[in-house]
């Protein structure tokens, strides 16, 4: 039961709370380029989800069995203390390029109508940051060295799939908004990427409202493990949710200090 709750947390976190596009800024290029129409956006989202799942699966296998410090196969060949994690990036990019090739060949052969609708996006996906980002996240939780539990295949797959789902959600919402924007009078210099980024900013603001949901879910579902599970343990890095600076109290309002913390502690 606790493991299921951890999986649900990872899923919700990857798809909505720490949305790949609106929070971690990965996959921006297709997000801006392909989000003109809802059907194209949905096709791109499905293609990305598909590839990200396969890439996530393969990179978990490589990281768990070969690359991480103390990995079984590496220790077998090189001996105790083997740490091949320096090769991670090269292996991941190989994995991603081959996943894309595999998916393209498979879809073209077995689902020709599907290939017609989203096959053209597939070569673009190789340079999609979202896929490499998913692999890096998996590496972060699997290549943990001694002491901590590396993520199992199920958690890694859930992260990958729901990361793709989150990307699809974001891109489809953006496509819907852009279809409406076609009827609006956008200033000439903002047309295209400018207005898309501004709308993405507002969307990102809206998604920030989900901050804190994972912490509360954690407390509800598995109170004992709430402190231990490392879903968003990333204190220092840039994509990590930051603490909003406390609003300075207005003159004469000495006692009322509003502290808002996103995704860290309670939202007051």
């Amino acid at each position: 039961m606790e493991h299921i709750s951890e999986l649900i947390l990872v899923a919700v976190s990857a798809a909505i709370i720490n949305n790949f596009v609106l929070h971690y800024f990965v996959g921006i290029c297709p997000f801006i380029g392909v989000s003109r129409r809802v059907d194209m956006a949905f096709g791109m989202g499905c293609a990305v989800t598909f590839v990200i799942t396969i890439a996530g699966l393969l990179s978990w296998i490589f990281t768990y069995y070969i690359l991480r410090p103390g990995a079984p196969l590496a220790v077998l060949v090189i001996g105790e203390g083997a740490d091949l994690s320096i090769l991670s990036y090269i292996v991941y990019i190989f994995v991603i390029a081959s996943s894309v090739q595999l998916v393209e060949m498979y879809v073209r052969k077995f689902f020709p109508p599907l290939y017609k609708s989203f096959g053209v996006f597939l070569p673009l996906i190789t340079t999609n940051c979202a896929i490499l980002f998913a692999c890096l996240e998996i590496m972060k939780y699997v290549a943990v060295g001694k002491g901590a539990d590396p993520w199992g295949l199920d958690t890694a797959l859930v992260l990958a799939i729901f990361g793709g789902v989150g990307f699809t959600i974001a891109i489809v919402i953006m496509a819907g908004i852009r279809e409406e924007l076609d009827y609006c009078d956008v200033p000439r210099s903002l047309r295209g990427a400018g207005i898309t980024l501004i709308v993405a900013g507002i969307l990102s603001l809206a998604f920030m409202g989900f901050g804190g949901v994972d912490r509360s879910l954690k407390e509800v579902m598995s109170p004992a493990k709430a402190a231990a599970v490392a879903v968003d343990d990333d204190e220092e890095y840039i994509g990590a949710p930051t603490t909003m600076p406390a609003a300075k109290p207005a003159d004469g309002d000495a006692g009322a200090e509003i502290t808002m913390k996103t995704q860290r502690g309670a939202v007051q």
Binding site: H23, Y89, L132
Partner: protein, 209 residues
């Protein structure tokens, strides 16, 4: 290779503003949004990208006659991945705190469209000197773009510039600026500004000519 394209000097200057990777070519927006919360991280990222871009361009240009057409993107990507690994380890070794802050965005340089695009468009077809000057120009342009977004976000968002306080104490820090929405809004508005300035200059040179 043929020299009928722009010369080294021209390529260098083009990369700065006329063909700026972020504002004109709309490439490399992931790091532009992600690491521009402060000038420190932005300039570190610009330095890392410059290192990878220059090395990758030079190496690609050196092996350009050996590339098979259908494998070239993979070769570019592997070259870039190697240099990014080097850059990542160097950063982790000499600037550990910065490396922690930049997190996954250094390895994401591998899929930065700017580098792959320059390898494909320029380095695989031109001599080493031209490729190198193109790389230097593009990385400086990228650094300029990062600096523009980062200064706005940092000054408005934390009142500092490179970590030094520049805004008066009474300035209410616009926390939103250092968070994702601020990144999107800043880049979108700056893009609009860049397009507007470009349109005005075109109009001026159009009526003057």
């Amino acid at each position: 290779m043929s020299n009928d394209g722009p010369t080294s000097g021209e390529r260098f200057l083009r990369g700065l503003i006329p063909e700026n990777p972020v504002y004109r070519q709309l490439l490399g927006m992931c790091p532009t949004l992600a690491v521009t919360g402060g000038m420190n991280t932005a300039m570190t990222m610009a330095g890392a990208v410059a290192f990878v871009l220059i090395c990758a361009n030079v190496l690609t240009s050196l092996i350009r006659n050996l590339l098979k057409p259908h494998l070239r993107i993979l070769v570019f990507t592997l070259t870039i991945a190697t240099f990014v690994t080097i850059a990542d380890r160097l950063l982790a070794c000499y600037m550990y705190q910065m490396s922690k802050e930049l997190g996954p965005y250094i390895p994401l340089i591998i899929v930065n469209c700017v580098i792959i695009c320059r390898c494909e468009v320029c380095a695989s077809k031109q001599s080493v000197a031209i490729a190198a000057s193109d790389a230097v120009g593009q990385s400086l342009g990228f650094a300029l773009a990062l600096a523009s977004v980062a200064s706005v976000r940092e000054i408005l968002g934390s009142g500092t510039f490179f970590g030094l306080r520049v805004m008066p104490e009474a300035w209410p820090e616009w926390g939103i600026m250092v968070m994702p929405p601020g990144a999107f809004l800043t880049l979108g508005l700056l893009l609009g500004l860049a397009n507007w300035i470009g349109a005005i200059r075109e109009k001026k040179s159009g009526t003057a000519a």
